[in-house]
Symmetry: C2
Subunit: 358 residues, 2 copies
Amino acid sequence: MPKESTLLRDGKIVRSEDPLNLEMPFETLDGFITPTKSFYVRTHFPIPKIDKSKWRLRVEGEVERPFETNYDELINLESEKIPVTLECAGNQRNFLEPKVKGVQWELGAVGTAEWTGVPLSILLDRAGVKPRAREVILEGADHGKLEDPKSPAGEVKFARSISLERARKNVLLAYKMNDVDLPAEHGFPVRAIVPGWYAVASIKWLQCIIVTNEPFNGYYQTLDYAFWKRRGDNAELVPISEMQIKAEIARPSEGETVPANSNVRVHGTAWTGDGAIKKVEISSDDGATWNEAKLLGESKPNTWRLWEFSWRTPNRPGKATLIARATDSKGRTQPMERDPDRGTYMINHLLPITVEVR
Amino acid sequence: MPKESTLLRDGKIVRSEDPLNLEMPFETLDGFITPTKSFYVRTHFPIPKIDKSKWRLRVEGEVERPFETNYDELINLESEKIPVTLECAGNQRNFLEPKVKGVQWELGAVGTAEWTGVPLSILLDRAGVKPRAREVILEGADHGKLEDPKSPAGEVKFARSISLERARKNVLLAYKMNDVDLPAEHGFPVRAIVPGWYAVASIKWLQCIIVTNEPFNGYYQTLDYAFWKRRGDNAELVPISEMQIKAEIARPSEGETVPANSNVRVHGTAWTGDGAIKKVEISSDDGATWNEAKLLGESKPNTWRLWEFSWRTPNRPGKATLIARATDSKGRTQPMERDPDRGTYMINHLLPITVEVR
């Protein structure tokens, strides 16, 4: 359970008030779907106050027929309901050594919800994408000035782009989260959902879709939420995209006390970007040996998989460590060490937790 | 003349020792060609020590026939000799208010030399560029680690890209500067020259030419030497490219004393990116009225133009200001105010100098 000193709001940890950043205490994980009230909240600017009856969504740029639609029109289009896991690209940042700037997330900037909305491809088809188009910019109504000395002098809007191919694949313009209208902090009235990608791509308070011929180089695309990728002798700044494979232990949690010489249920979730979780293993000897956990439920695309493991605790009191490690259908697994070129994002190296055996 | 306290080396102002950054005292401007010993020096890392007999230049990437050439082969290819003005993208940074980070250049991080070398297009043709190629990365031998917290963790090489179209236009692989072998600090044995662009594109110590299908996003392309360009409600980070139109006054220099009620020769240079200087005007009344200066010599592409103006100084002793303003063949002129989205680069707003009338 969260430490007594931690400021909570509706059961979530307050990481910052302005902008509002709330984290799910990950030890409260209880089922495949994260209740909306427990779902982490990440914002960069004040939450836009949007009147549903006045909200408009524009589709413009390299299209034959730019248009504007409204909420009633949108919800009457063909819709889909899919479960999708969203993780903040900075989840687990608090565990980085040395400490880095940014919201100090522990394990809970991740959650799975059922999203109901209109496939983006329907709107793109209505607009008629021109042949030379390469990318689709998703722009939110949230905006403000930045303090980073490398940032633009004026205001920026929160915006990200994805390739046209990715945009046509399975991106949803969601207006319901777990079967009710999106709450304001989750992007009311409409949020994009880009399955398999870090949640920064899933633009909240969506108001504009811009098709372009050239790569988009906005602040949150090119400078923030980007990492360094090695290319030969050099490195290139690349926008964060697919989620990296990761397993997280919900219980026991860091510092929790467990009885000696007993069977203790270890449980958590694991997820990956474009693929399925095939295996979760647990080590209680600092990675010397690994034992497979049991995957629960069924595998669904773009969502996490719950798992559990029956751990025989040591005979004697003292400290013990647990590490979870996931492997996916593409053979990817988690690295032992942190790659510093990832900056403050994409944190999926193996993370031991320490428990107290009594 | 430079202040007595200014550290000079070979007549140049030492802006930093490590890396080596040297500026021409702009008041020493004396002719269309800048002598090599007066030419400003900009480096980012230790100057590579290159043995001409061991130097190789690779052409690779999206080409049919990647190859490697050496110095003797290169200098035996068809060559051209052209005068080109190079300006550091941070020239005049010292005049920005509030003060910003970066080398504190005044007026002298600019110069014109005659460059002898091989057109890049000859090497591209020899390699056979594939149809989908879009950009050409020019990579130098200079490299090191960066201190910027947003930089890659490992080493980077100094590299920039230009569009394939730009690469084929008039880029030179220069091995002579003002008719002698390039000095080490100017890129020995071979430096790219990209006419009309800020000098950051003119990669020194060239060792690799990489043709690519995708935009290059290296540190010095995307993060450093980039500026914010407004696009609708948003801003995009764009690599610095074409030089902005600018006139600079060489004499009288800031703080210089001139006789009252006399004709004083005001002189300097003016340059632009892709175009020709059509007019330089001088104001001695804070921009209320402007008088045309005389353009000297003939207009040559991609170089500055010298100019002079006979100024009738005020009758009475006191302070006076002078402002020079250039206009080019495309009708572009200098802005009154600094655009803060340009960050610490592309400084070409009108810059008054103050002189003492006695």
